[in-house]
């Protein structure tokens, strides 16, 4: 799965939790939680959905690395790559 496919899936997950988000509105290099209203329950639901759709488990200790959409896509990409 390439980065653009991962991005599409992640954005899909975010939109399933925050339906008011327009796809074109998201800036990949800005903190996600500044752009989308996600509380800790929403964030947990994002991670659960990422786990279900992409089979990637994100430990709590890594939350702080995941600030922007770019961070999340790169993180998932690295995890998937290390699995192969």
């Amino acid at each position: 799965m390439n980065e653009s496919e991962i991005r599409t899936r992640v954005v899909g997950v975010i939109r399933s939790i925050a339906p008011e988000v327009e796809e074109g509105e998201l800036r990949d290099d800005r903190p996600l939680r500044d752009q989308v209203d996600l509380d800790s329950m929403d964030w947990l639901n994002v991670l659960v959905a990422v786990h279900e759709k992409l089979r990637v488990d994100i430990p709590e200790a890594d939350y702080r690395k995941l600030v922007t959409l770019n961070d999340i896509v790169a993180y998932i990409g690295a995890k998937l790559a290390s699995r192969v």
């Binding site: 209203d37 509380d39 329950m41 947990l44 639901n45 991670l47 659960v48 786990h51 430990p59 709590e60």
Partner: protein, 387 residues
């Protein structure tokens, strides 16, 4: 014969529109079963029944708006036959009348207009053209011209008129009514306490490391559980103020203030929080948040919170002093968790801290008992493994 009434749907809900029957006459029903769905301004509420029996008769048709307390259906008690019920019904008919005669709520504002549309009225060509320009459906415009003709002016008025009340507007009204009543009737007192969260945060991090993402626990669940346990020491914060006296609650049903993405706020209850383990409480909390946001709650969740907890820490505020939901007598607020300087045993260090607040009803409790509660809450959060 058992009467099944529309239960209370919370302090700010006095009526509901029946939208679905989940059972039909002749069906056996069990205590706790969802038997109907009622639409309120806040959510579609699944109404549960609290007795075993067999559904005998549905008394309210789908689509009807009825006040809380209306008999929705009758049930046969276990062992009761249809014949007995018929007999009882005939005998009780005069007595049942008043219930049926409950004044219907005033029709929504839009109704007369809808009625008027039934017959088509003349529309002047200019009005029709203007309606097209303004994007107004001319058939829905009430005419004030000769023979009820729709005039240009009517079209302009219709274009300027506010949209029919939607759920959000109705929810705002309901919140306004409950909060105004609270500030009118409840003499609030407010207390706050800074609580060190180091132990809770470290314990939770260790705990979550062991858990798959689907079973992770949020700090919010710990806070709610700690509130439930602290209430055991100060029971006068858990219950209702009714008819000039405090009624202690029999269980600890914590109303969790949940914000709706489109705006609005609903505080449905998690039942018996003091008896739930953290994993179970966390499951109940995520389920409740998901269902609240999807607009699907159960009547018991709406009707019986015995105290409310609100957490505004996520929005970044340091503390929150909330308005009590009548007839409850207390509300606990949590602000954001933040690492700041802290001293303990003469040592200065940094620690994650959270400000907890209590809004109390001074008719039901005194500040000193409220202080006792916050001290107990702080203590409970120092022993996360016991939550």
């Amino acid at each position: 014969m058992i009467e099944f009434k529309l239960p209370s749907l919370g302090a700010d809900m006095d009526q509901g529109k029946l939208v679905e029957w989940k059972v039909k006459p002749g069906d056996a029903v069990k205590r706790g079963q969802v038997v109907a769905v009622v639409d309120t301004s806040k959510a579609a509420v699944e109404v549960e029944i609290w007795q075993d029996g067999t559904l005998f008769e549905q008394l309210v048709p789908i689509g009807e708006k009825v006040p809380v307390g209306t008999v929705l259906a009758t049930l046969l008690a276990p062992g009761e036959t249809r014949e007995q019920a018929e007999q009882q019904k005939r005998a009780a008919r005069p007595a049942l009348k008043p219930a049926a005669a409950v004044p219907a709520p005033p029709p929504p504002v839009a109704a007369p207009m809808t009625g008027a549309i039934a017959q088509r009225r003349p529309v002047s060509p200019a009005a029709r053209k203007h309606a097209r320009e303004l994007g107004v459906d001319v058939d829905t415009v009430a005419g004030t011209g000769p023979h009820g003709a729709v005039t240009v002016e009517d079209v302009e008025k219709a274009a300027a008129a506010p949209a029919p009340p939607d759920r959000y507007v109705e929810m705002r009204k309901a919140i306004a009514a409950a909060m105004s009543r609270s500030k009118r009737e409840i003499p609030h007192y407010y207390l706050s306490e800074t609580i060190p969260m180091q132990r809770a945060a470290e314990w939770l991090a260790r705990e979550n490391e062991k858990r798959p993402v689907t079973e992770r626990i949020l700090m919010g669940a710990l806070q709610i559980k700690a509130v439930a346990l602290a209430l055991a020491r100060v029971p006068e914060l858990n219950g209702f103020w009714r008819n000039g006296a405090f009624e202690p609650a029999t269980g600890v049903h914590i109303g969790v203030a949940i914000s709706i993405r489109q705006g609005g706020l609903i505080p449905p209850a998690i039942h018996d929080v003091d008896k739930k383990g953290l994993p179970e409480l966390m499951r109940a909390l995520s389920d409740l948040v998901a269902r609240t946001r999807a607009g699907s709650l159960r009547s018991s969740e709406m009707s019986d919170p015995t105290i409310t907890v609100t957490n505004l820490g996520e929005t970044g505020v340091e503390s929150v002093f909330g308005v009590i939901y009548p007839p409850q007598v207390a509300l606990v607020g949590f602000g954001r968790m933040e690492t700041r300087p802290w001293s303990e045993d003469g040592k200065l260090f940094t620690a994650p801290l959270v400000t907890a607040s209590l809004s109390g009803d001074h008719r039901a409790s005194n500040g000193i008992r409220g202080a006792r509660f916050l001290a107990e809450l702080r203590e409970r959060l120092q022993h996360p493994e016991e939550l």
